[in-house]
């Protein structure tokens, strides 16, 4: 009995790597799906064990495919060159594993009687996973001098020497000395935590090695491909899309993004921010939007492949929210990517028409919310794609949420209850649609677009301090007064830091690389070599002037 960590295909078998560096060989063959006129030639290949004819559906209609069982997965390369293959994602190795009940990071009992799954699809594996991160005086960086080791998410080492780490899965930033069943180089992949990666592997039933160096789209595509496989739906390696002919008028109407309003700049008391729960994935599921259903019409369509796959993820996320937020966030990222992948040209389950249908439905839903809110006597302050800020009594807002859920089938929830909220103007005094901040009940600040990732730490701290000061005011008028009183002193304090010697304050991170502005220009801040105080002084004063305009 043990957790499945990894697997390697062999000749007529799979070498399964279990936790604590144990392994076991399991006999099997690997399925490959082929479209061919004369299937008897398939037996010419020495690795072919059996061939069976099957009826499948495809984007073009019914087709006949041959399931070729091979005893060596390397035969796939030969077939790829010579024949038209279908359903190569998930990999033949994963397909063989799922037939044997060998799912990644699941507890299995392997005996002479067969393989039994012990843990449920929601259980997190009880394995040793190690994350090694490097940092320096300016923060986390793959070129940092110091090392921090986290075992199962808990810190276990912090020091200068390269530590020796061992575990079932090891995730290193830069060079490290490790012994592991699965080793992942963190520097070569998007920065997400190891726990999130394992959750992705669990959710997509794909080996960690297969998805670790890919974007979130691969896990998502594999998830959809499992649904296609279970329905005997043939997915070609490259899907050719011919878009439906559109008139210029229709193109102009369809080819749009989500609806964003321009708010009236200013501070407003007592407002609520309402959010659609997972809006785009919910639209795909509720409205059954899937590329294979384009010609299906409006009624009597079966549930599409994409909606079914996303529905599983939505349910999984809802359950995980109460178990582990980090794992729920990993699923959230997959759901966020699901919409973009629906319109991505290289996606196996993407078509631009479905993408446009989703944005169109989202625009209609938000318009419906705005119109209903106005009918109910609420004041609409702002709307961004899937969220809206309104003023009015709470019972009316709850009525609005109920009505929208009834009308659209999409769930609207209160995301924030503001004591006051501010919508800010840009330099030309026009409203900035993507930037707002406000004090939520309890006194905390919620902000979007105010503190930017590429700003110097000094400016970030200045804005944080300022917003914290503003949060002391329970009403918009109080916040204005506090900021008017505190801003000159705060600006003065941060200008002083510009002329002092505090290297961390001058670092700005651009695309993961730390920079400092020196007197001769920008340089990489791996080593502090002075800074230009006047540049930082101007920066702070410029931001201070802008903030003053926000609180006018």
């Amino acid at each position: 009995m043990g957790y499945v960590i990894d697997a390697f295909p062999g000749r007529g078998s799979i070498k399964v790597i279990l936790d604590s560096f144990r392994s076991v060989n399991v006999k099997t063959t690997f399925p490959i799906y082929v479209k061919i006129e004369n299937p008897s030639v398939l037996y010419d290949h020495p690795n072919v064990v059996s061939v069976s004819e099957e009826d499948w559906r495809s984007f073009e209609g019914k087709i006949k495919l041959y399931r070729v069982e091979v005893d060596d997965v390397s035969a796939l390369d030969y077939f790829k060159k010579k024949l038209t293959l279908y359903n190569t994602i998930p990999s033949p190795l994963s397909q063989a594993m799922i037939r044997l009940n060998l799912l990644p990071f699941r507890l299995v009992d392997i005996s002479w009687n067969g393989i039994q799954l012990i843990s449920s699809h929601l259980d997190f594996p009880q394995i040793k996973f190690v994350e090694l991160r490097r940092y320096d005086w300016f923060g986390y960086s793959e070129s940092g001098k110091y090392y921090r080791v986290f075992v199962n998410g808990k810190p276990s080492y912090d020091g200068e020497g390269i530590p020796r780490v061992d575990g079932d899965v090891v995730y290193c930033e830069g060079p490290c000395i490790a012994s592991a069943s699965v080793f992942i180089d963190r520097a070569s992949r998007p920065p997400i935590s190891l726990k999130e990666l394992i959750e992705r592997s669990l959710a997509s039933k794909a080996l960690l090695r297969e998805i670790a160096y890919s974007s979130v789209g691969k896990a998502l595509t594999i998830n959809e491909a499992w649904v296609a496989l279970s329905r005997k739906f043939a997915v070609p390696s490259i899907k050719i899309n011919v878009e439906n002919l559109k008139s210029l008028k229709k193109l102009r109407e369809a080819d749009r993004a989500g609806l964003t309003l321009f708010p009236r700049a200013g501070l407003y008391n007592e407002a609520y921010q309402l959010d659609f729960v997972s809006m785009y994935p919910s639209i795909i599921v509720n409205y059954n939007i899937s590329p294979e259903l384009l010609d299906c019409g409006r009624s009597n369509c079966p549930l599409g492949i994409v909606p079914e796959a996303l529905n599983d993820l939505l349910e999984r996320r809802e359950i995980l929210k109460n178990i582990d937020k980090e794992r729920a966030d990993a699923i959230k990222l997959m759901l966020v990517a699901s919409f973009g992948y629906l319109g991505y040209r290289n996606s196996k389950f993407g078509r631009v028409e479905t993408y446009e249908a989703v944005t169109n439905t989202a625009r209609k839903a938000l318009t419906k919310v705005i119109m209903t809110a106005r009918d109910l006597g609420l004041t609409v302050l702002h709307g961004i794609v899937d969220s809206i800020v309104v003023q009015g009594p709470r019972d009316v807002i709850e009525r609005l949420m109920d009505e929208i859920s009834m009308d659209t089938g999409l769930q609207l929830r209160i995301d924030a209850e503001f004591d006051w909220v501010a919508f800010t103007p840009n330099l030309s005094m026009e409203p900035h649609p993507q930037r707002y901040f406000g004090r939520v009940k309890g006194g905390k600040i919620k902000s979007k677009g105010v503190i930017k990732r590429n700003q110097p730490n000094l400016v970030k701290w200045f804005l944080e301090d300022l917003l914290n000061e503003a949060s002391k005011g329970a009403r918009a008028e109080d916040a204005k007064r506090i900021v008017a009183d505190e801003l000159p002193a705060l600006t003065e304090r941060y200008v002083k830091i510009c002329f002092s010697d505090y290297p961390l304050a001058y670092v700005m991170t651009i695309r993961g690389v730390p920079f400092i502005r020196g007197t001769w220009g920008f340089y990489k801040a791996y080593e502090y070599r002075g800074h230009d105080p006047y540049y930082y002084e101007n920066y702070v004063k410029r931001v201070s002037d802008e903030v003053r305009r926000w609180f006018l």
């Binding site: 008139s247 102009r252 040209r345």
Partner: protein, 193 residues
């Protein structure tokens, strides 16, 4: 199907496939917008991941040129990835304008074959220097090939390949891209008088 430039229209009048190319993106972009409006009703295929058409510019041009209901006269299909291009070209029946069919630099033979197999007139607009690519990039497919170049205060159309005409250049003012030369701005100035 016409370009709106009578001299150019005379040159390509009997050609099934005509290709225009330019190194100047903005010039070719404006040029084919005028051709699309002048040729309406017309089918259009846009090749590429993004961009390639400004519908508002088409509406504006149609208003200037006095063409009504342009929104219902232009039919668009987009081919985002290279594998979609040959199938998309084959899916059209009548006259067709193709914008940047060799955009991806791959599947040249398949794309060239699908253009050649069409029985109807086709206008191709390509970005980049087609002189460098020659036949490997479908150079043989077009009957006539014309290059657009920016000049001081306007642009010139240079005939590079034609079965009926020798190589020569035609010069136009830049305004010719945005309004009907014969009409000018006169009617607009007298409006309301």
């Amino acid at each position: 199907m016409k370009t709106g430039f009578p001299e150019v229209d005379d040159i390509i009048a009997y050609d099934a496939i005509t290709e225009f190319f330019s190194l100047d993106y903005n010039l070719l972009f404006s040029f084919y917008h005028k051709v699309i409006v002048e040729s309406a009703p017309i089918d259009l295929l846009l090749v590429g991941e993004r961009g390639g058409l400004n519908p508002y510019s088409l509406t504006q041009l149609a208003r200037v040129l006095g063409i009504s209901n342009i929104d219902d006269k232009i039919f668009v299909r987009r081919a985002f990835k290279v594998e979609d291009v040959p199938a998309s070209i084959s899916s059209f029946k009548g006259e067709l304008i193709i914008v940047d069919p060799y955009h991806h630099g791959k599947f040249i033979d398949e794309i060239a074959a699908s253009i050649k197999e069409r029985g109807s007139r086709t206008l191709i607009f390509s970005f980049g220097n087609r002189l460098n690519y020659k036949s490997t990039f479908g150079w043989h497919v077009a009957s006539s090939i014309l290059e657009l170049k920016e000049t001081k205060g306007g642009f010139k159309v240079r005939l590079i390949k034609s079965p009926a005409f020798p190589e020569f250049e035609l010069k136009y003012p830049v305004g010719a891209l945005y309004y009907d030369e014969k009409t000018g701005l006169g009617p607009w100035l007298t409006l309301g008088l």
